[in-house]
Each structure stands twice: as C-alpha cells, then as structure tokens.
Point group: D3
Chain length 221, copies 6
C-alpha cells in the first residue's frame, strides 16, 4: 500500500505472524510492532541505508517505537490473540511528516490485514478500538502550519506531532521547540490546530477502506 501525504510517500505493508515473542507467550494477547526505513533516495541527496553499517540510527528507533505504540493504541490486543502484526513503513519520498504519515497510513494497512483475518473467521469484531491517525504541525516564523513540507520543516521553530483516535482522545503528543522556547499558549494553539485536522484524516482512512471493499464498522463493533 502506498500512502501519500503532501510530497511524502510511504510504502506500507502489514504482515501477520501467528505467535508472539517469548514475554507474551501464554498471555492470550497479541502485539503490533513497526519497522521504519528511509529509502536511500527518499531525500534529494542519497543517504546510507540504516543498519547496513552496524547499528540502527537512534532517530529510526525512536520513530518506529512511536509508530508501534500509536498503532497498538487502536488495537484490542486480547481480541487479536497471540499474533504479531508487523507494519513496515518504507519512506520512498520524504517531504516532511514521515512518521505521522506512517501512522495514518499504517492504520489503514493494519485494518485491511485484520479484515482479511476477520473474513476468514480467525478473529471477531472488536479487535479494533477505533481509528488512529497522526498529524504534524509547526510554527514557522509567525505562522502555525499543518504537515510541514521538508523545506518548511527545516526552518520550523516548533515541531509537534499529535496522535489521536477517532473519538478525540489523544494518544501521544510530542513537541520540540527547535529554536527559542515557545510560550504555553502558542503550544495550546498548535495542539488545537493539529486536532482540527483529525476529522479529515479519519475520513480519508474510511475512504481508503471503502475503496478496498470494507469498513471499520466490521472491525470495531
């Protein structure tokens, strides 16, 4: 599945394995994890493949932990049963917001994979708690902007990522003032801006599922 958001394009695939890692065995619960990789040419200037020269970059690990955590918030792990879902997010073009695109698109891939399991009767309804999506927002000069493109991103004073669910509950907020610290009320306004875009993200997820011939209703209740 290819998810595009602005100039950012992420190739996303959700894979389901029967069984879980040792620490979950016997618990009856499943797990959702993510791998995030940047194609060497996702940026105009070629970069080394992460992991080819020994260890994985700290930034990569941080991002894939965030994606995994966010997607797990949407899943009822008990109802998944002892299965492991791996969501691979390969960024083909990076134009800002790669981690939030991976979450928003990753949810669609996850739902489609679960829907295949459901249609085989392996899992029942309720395996999803609802949709999860994410958006980045930033302050560039005087303006608060959604989903900064790379050029804006590198000039942003604040870089904020918000992950939320369909019912408006917030799963994760991560914001960093890259330059000068930012007053409390501008942060609040920025979170408001991010939250205001959530409905359109959930709508695009529904559309994608509809195009694939299914809907969230079958998985949520």
């Amino acid at each position: 599945m290819l998810y595009a958001c602005g100039g950012t394009r992420v190739l996303i695939a959700a894979s389901i394995d029967e069984g879980v890692a040792g620490w979950l065995r016997g618990s009856g619960k499943g797990w959702v994890t993510a791998e995030y990789a940047m194609h060497p040419r996702a940026n105009p200037q070629r970069q080394d493949r992460d992991g080819r020269k020994g260890r994985i970059d700290g930034r990569t690990q941080e991002i894939q932990r965030l994606i995994g955590r966010s997607l797990r918030a949407a899943v009822n792990l008990e109802k998944l049963g002892e299965r492991t879902i791996t969501v691979d997010c390969d960024v083909l073009d990076a134009d800002g917001g790669t981690r939030t695109a991976s979450i928003t698109g990753g949810f669609v891939a996850l739902a489609l994979a679960l829907d295949r399991l459901r249609s085989k009767g392996v899992i029942g309804a309720g395996v999803l708690r609802g949709p999860v999506a994410a958006i980045s927002a930033g302050i560039v000069g005087p303006s608060a902007l959604l989903d900064l493109a790379y050029v804006e991103d590198s000039k942003a004073d604040v870089d904020l990522n918000v992950v939320a669910m369909g019912d408006g509950g917030i799963v994760e907020v991560q914001g960093t003032a890259e330059g000068a610290p930012v007053p409390r009320d501008r942060w609040t306004a920025l979170v408001d801006l991010a939250m205001s875009s959530m409905p359109s993200l959930f709508a695009s997820q529904s559309e994608a599922l509809a195009r694939a011939g299914t809907s969230l209703d079958k998985l949520v209740r």
Copy 2:
C-alpha cells in the same frame, strides 16, 4: 554530582572537550550531548548493562537524545565556541522520572562546568540563555500526579514529560497515553500541573549553584 529526586538518584558529570565533531568544525559553534546509562542494579531486579551485548537499546538512545536536546536549549552554542560538553547521567536508583531528573540535575552540572570555564576567562557571560528543568506527570486512576514513583509509573494511564525554561517557555512536551486515549482537556490540565512545579525546580537549581559558590547570573548575563 549526585542528583536525587524522590527515590531516583542519578550520578551526573559534565565534561568539556576542546573541539567539535566534523560537521560543526569551522562553524564557531559548540555542542552539548548527553549519555544516559542505567546501572545494572538501579532497579530491584538486576538488568544487563546496555551496550555490553552489542547495540544500545532504543529506549536509551531516545532518552539521551531528549536530554541532549533539552540541555542545548539552555545554551547559546555560538558563545560556547567550538567545545563539546558531554553530560553523563548514570542512574544509580530508578524510582520513576529518570529522564527528567537527568535534565534538571544535568543543567546544574552543565552550569558548574561552564562556570569553571568562565572563571578562567575562556568564555564570557551569555553562554547560558537561562535555566532548563524537566518534570514528569501522570494520570493514575482519577488523580493527576507529579513525578510518579516507579510503582505509580507502571500503573499510569498517561506519562507526560515537560521540559521548560526559566522564563516559562516550553522546550519539549512528550506525552503518551499508555492505556485508553485521554481527552484533550485532561492533557491540558496535566501540562498545567507540570508547569506549576517548575518554579520549585528552578529554585532548587539556584540553591545547588549557590552551595557551589556561584550563581546563574554570571553565566546568563
């Protein structure tokens, strides 16, 4: 320097090296970085030393990146000149809030190291922009609590870390709903709670500096 906050104790040392990594050479700017390590017996149950069996854990990298970023927010890197400050944070006892304790205590170690440079005339005033401190807050059941101890932490529904500067500007907000997503207004209340504790953290930093015979004024202006 041993920094204690609740049951958490962190051994902190700031070291200054002349020179910077290649990508900063010639820029006239310095750098501040952090290393975070958990002593194998920081928790009741002994854990393997991170990095002894190959690669450093993703969580460790994420934490030391946060500490470094937070401390850099307090430093005027141009006025530091081409020097690298490494702040080592070794957690001896982990009772919740180890990353925020490392930031709040790390700032004191950083200021003392800079003060030695200043008293030798190597750097002038203005190398610091002001103090930086951090606090964790969480929601456990119906209550919002500051600086969760380990026992509370593992039951927390939300785990929030806020990093702020002395003038009230926010440097970083990182919050994760561990269980069910949390409504927007409870997040706002939690950030308010965290911000309300900042003055006491800055006061304790000032005291520690005073005990060491110096004050921030000499470094900030």
Copy 3:
C-alpha cells in the same frame, strides 16, 4: 525507477556523488557500486530486513557484488572521472530473477543518471562502452526455461545467470546445479538459450531510454 520483469518488481535508483573512495583518489577513475535489498514483504511470507540484526547476509553481499561488477563492465571508468555511482536495487516483489532484473534495469537507471551529467556538460560521450543486460535461465525437469518464476526457481535443477553486453561479449556466467550435476552439453544449450534472449532485453532498455527522451548513442559515442 520501477523495473518489472515477470512478477519481479525492483525499485531502482542511481545516485552520483562527486569523489571516490580513498584507494581510487588521484587515479582519475570513477566507480560504480550497487546496493541490493529485499523488501520484507517481497515474498509472500514476511522476512526480516537484512542488516537490521547486525551483519548483512552473505547472499545479499554476493548479489550486490555481482550487480556492481556487471554495471562496471558497461562503464568507461576513466571517462566517468572521480565520481561514484551507487545503484540502489530494492526488490518490492520477488518472483525469481531478482539479480538479473537488477542488472538489466540498473543499466537503464545508470544510463539516465549519466545522461543528466552529459547534458550538463560534466562528462562527454564514450562514458558507456555499450549496454549490459542479464537473464536467468534454468532447467526444470526436461525443459530449459528463461527467467524462472519463483515457483519454478525453487524446483529448478540448474540456475544460470548470464550477463552480456550489446556486442555479444559475455561479462559473467554463473551457473549452479542445485540437484544432480548436469552434463556439459546441457550447460552449453542453456547458455545459448540465455544468449538468445539478450536482443529483446537490449531493445527494452533502448525503449525505456527513448521514453525518457534520450538514447544510448549520446553516451556510447
């Protein structure tokens, strides 16, 4: 660039960096190298990303060495000058013949990258010696077949890869009898079969270049 051959699809990108590795510096010669990676879902069953858990698999290294060697055969390294071309081959769908598809498609990506340099006047004609392409062939039961699909591949008695240039010169022959050893004359027939398909590969390369608005003539002479 997405190159498809049968059910195999490879995402190919050629990147040019000014400068060469230490051992070539001052020689006036350039270098062409390849990186080959299998997407975790290129096969029906998800596989671990190569290199994520320490070292790169021997098979991967063997393949990327072959691709690099084959593409270098097509390039006049002196006329390239001290530049390094990296051809990234990411297999999105693996249905047999991934290494030969990477060579045949990699040549097109390489030629297009060189053509951009040429049109800027950085390099002149003659930087390419001619086109290079590769095909796999195999013996499955009584039949000799070209470009085995994965299902056939796993049943093949012989797996042969031939790399050749436009003038019919052979660059590389690699053949392995997976089951029983194969008589001399069947090998000869298999190489003949592979060679007979070369003209159609060169034609498809020319077409791809033409669609991109250029032709080999500008680079070869």
Copy 4:
C-alpha cells in the same frame, strides 16, 4: 591435511558433529558447510584477519558458500543422516586458485572423515555420490591457462572456476570477464580447457585416499 596446488597451500580439516541446525532437525538429512579463511601472511603483504574487526568480508562469504555448495553436491545428505560436516579451509599460501584448491582438497578431507564414520559402522556405503573437484582457468593476453598463479591472475582478462563431478557432470560454472567482455566461443574453449584437466584432479584425489589406506569405492557404493 595440507593441500597444495601450484604455489597455493591450504590447510584443510573436516569435522563431524552429531546434529543439524534447527531448519533440518527431524528431516533425517545432514549438511555440509565450509569455512574459508586467509592467513594474514598468505600473501606477501600482511592483511588483517577477516572477522577480527566486526563483519566477515563479502568475498570470504561468497567463497565459503561456493565451497560448501560444491561439496554438498558430492554427498547424499539423506544417507549422511542428521550430522553436520564442517570443512575448514585455511589458506596458508595464496598463489591463485585458493577456492578451487579448497574444493578439490576439501573433498579428500570430507571423504576421509566419512570413511572414519563408515569404518565405525555409523554410516553405510552410498553416502558419497562420487568425487567432486574444481579448477580455475583464465585468459591472459592471447593464452588460455589453467590454474593461474597470483601474478597471472591479477593480469587475467577472464577468471573462470569450474566445479565438476567424476562422471563429467558440471556442478558450478563461475566466470567473470575482468576487462573487456569475451566472445561466446572463447568462453566455450575455456570451459573445455578446464574440463580437460578434471581427470588428473580426480586421480590425485584417489591417490591421496589410497595413501590414507582407503578408497572412494567404499563410500560411493
């Protein structure tokens, strides 16, 4: 066992372990694998030991995969039973053709190790399908030559390795044109030249086994 071929000398040892790796357990089949290592002083100029500084070189992996594959072609893995044979090939003097010497000599070490098992009654006849041997050939200027010494090797236009069995069946052909591509008929002539030397290699293997007081007949039939 020390195997010499021209100026190349390889120390070869075959070791048999009861049991196989996980993926073969329960299959009733055994496995043959090889490790290839270059002594730091095998060449006039001392080289670093492979693997001492992290990962094993790609060339080393490629060679030890070839040796293992070639020796497996000679073994009836079902009749070996769930045992693992490791053939260690340590090149003490490298004067060209180290991989082919490792195969030809490795077969003798393998046969002697199997003969010890046979004489203990652990395995029966038929565990070997026949002898396997390998030779390198090359084109240096106008001449086609067998088993190139290092000096010739580094000037060779083509480097070909052929692995064959006693009945004339070919197991593996690997040829690379190092310089200009080579016309089809010169390749054919080169393979013919390599094949013409096989009988003398099989004869020297028989002699070595005879000196050790055994013969292939006991293992093949």
Copy 5:
C-alpha cells in the same frame, strides 16, 4: 556498596539470580561472575564508555575475568547450588589498584548477598571457604610500594597484583615488568610485601561485615 581504597572508589553490587548458564545446568553447582566498568569520568580526562561503540575493550575483559576467578576461589560452588551471582564493579574514581579494590570490596558485597540468602534459609553454612582479598604492589625507582596511586602507577617499573585467601593461600599472582626486566629476588620481595598487607585487608572486610550486622563465621562454618 561503595568501596574506597586510597583515592580509588568503586561502586559494588552483588546480585543473585536463581539458575545458571546452560553448561552448568543440572550440575548442582553455582557460578560467580563479575562485570567491571570504568565511569567515563573516573579519570580526570573523560573517556568513552566501554561497549558503547561495539565491543568491550580487551583490558576490561581481562580485569573482569580476574575478579570473577578470584571471587570464585572463595566460594564453595556446590553449596551455592544452581545460582548465579553477578558482582558489578563500577569504578567512580580511579587512582590506581582498581582491580584489586574490586576484588577486596567485591568479597564483602558477595558475603552480604550470601548472608541474606543464608538468613532466609536458602543456603547453609560452608558456602564460603574463607575471605579473599587482593592488593597491588609496585617498584617505583628504588622503592617497593603497596597500592600505587595513579601517578605512581604510571611510573612503576613493575606492577604486581596478588590475590590471597584468609589462610595465606595464594589464589593468583600477576606481575608485569613495565620497563626493564626485574631480577628474581626483587620479585620475591615484592610478593612478600604484598602478602604482609593481607591481614589488614581481611580485618577491614570483617569490620565492614560487622557494621552490616553479620560475620563471616556464619557463612564459612
């Protein structure tokens, strides 16, 4: 437990895990092992953390093997039963003799950990054979000195470490002439000097145990 000896300070912790590594399982015997780490600021000049950049330094491994071996000499592994004791030695200030301080202090931590097991009735008396302690000695110019401080150490002609038990039996002698080789009789005198200091080390261990409300008698007999 913080053990100080001269200017050297080592943070020592003994941890007991039920169970042993595979090669001891079913033997009824336990194991004692040590980990030794130098805090990056243990010396005036900050040093990289060992193990953060891949492999552990050879000197570190050598030291932790010595500490483990020395402590095992004091323990009756059969009476320990299938348990693993890990003694972590973190050098906070290094002023010479860090390995011998780790052994002498490590024994106290080990005895206290065993005493907790004993008071729970898990193990009986006799688990210790007696106390073990270690001291370093050196020749600096014309003088033989005990427990060289770092400044002396770096000028020492001989660096000797002696590990002995309470009954005067020697467990380990490691001596290196850093400069010119040293005549036989000076070595003998140096070992005598080291042995003459042992009683005071055993006395300080007894005191430390007494302060913690226990005594060796309960563990030795």
Copy 6:
C-alpha cells in the same frame, strides 16, 4: 615458521610494516603487537573460529596482549624506529602451553624479521635487548611439572606462566590456583622450577637462529 613444544604446534609469522599507529606517530619509536588465533581443529573437538560471530573472546584478547607485551620487553623500540611488527600466532595443535609457546617461538620469528631489516641496513645493532622466552608450569596432585600437556593442564591445581629474558630478569609472572589456594612456598618452588628451564629455551632459540644462518649477537650488540 612452525614452532613445536610438546604436542603443541604454533604457526608463527612476523610481519613488518613501515609506520605506526597514530598515538606513536612522530615519537621515533616502533611497536610490536601479536595476534593469537586458535585453529578450529586445534583441539580434538572442533570449536568456532574466534571473531566470526562478532566479537573476539576475552581469553584470546588476554593472551595476545600478553604475547605482545612479552615480545616488546625484548625490543628496543627507539632503535626499531617508526615500524610496526605484527607477530601472528596460529595454534594448529593445542596440547597445553599455547601462549608460552607463542612467546618463545614468536621471539625467533621476530629476530629473523629484524635480521632481514638489519641485513638491508635499515636498522642497526642493539634493536634487541636480548632473548625472551616463556614456560608454563603447574602443580598436578603432588607434583610440580613443566609445560603441562592438555590432559595434565585440565587437572592442574595451579597454572603458572613465567616470561623471562636471557639475563635472568623476569618480565611477567602469571599464576592462578585453579582449585584450592596454594601456600606461598609452593608458589616460590614453582617459579624456581620454571626459571630452571629457561636456559634450554634460550639454547633452542639460538639453534633455530643458527639454522637460519644468523645469530642474536648481530641484533643485540
């Protein structure tokens, strides 16, 4: 050079490189280092190659550090000039005393390599201070024995290695009581025994050099 001592056989090669590592550059001094490797079949049971699966074993590092240190004691590093000598010690058969055999034999290889430099006029006399040799001794039951074979070694109560120079000066003493600690006077007797064998080791080194057509005199004075 193949050095045998009892059933132990070590392949030894000394290589000289012009230049030294960074920390010695400009000092005018050279360096001597050693690499020690156990052939996988040096013991009856095949062992994994050290370093093939990531890191080098602690025991290997400890041994190669000892060999290097011992050989450096024999060399006047100033007179060597900025050159690096690497002595590779590959144990082909391990029957006890592999590290001491590596030192005694390593000295011969080192002297021969230096003699070649001397005969070319690159270095002058005095580059060696004298011969260095090493022997192991042990206590097995009631007996003190020299150069324990593997069978004895594994039963030894004490394992002692002594490195000494031709003038009787001791370079290194390393002794470990594997079982019960050993009284002071038995240690002294064991060192005496080891020292009593030194003259015969120096004689065999002289013989080996004479066979190669040279003598130590040319290098020592």
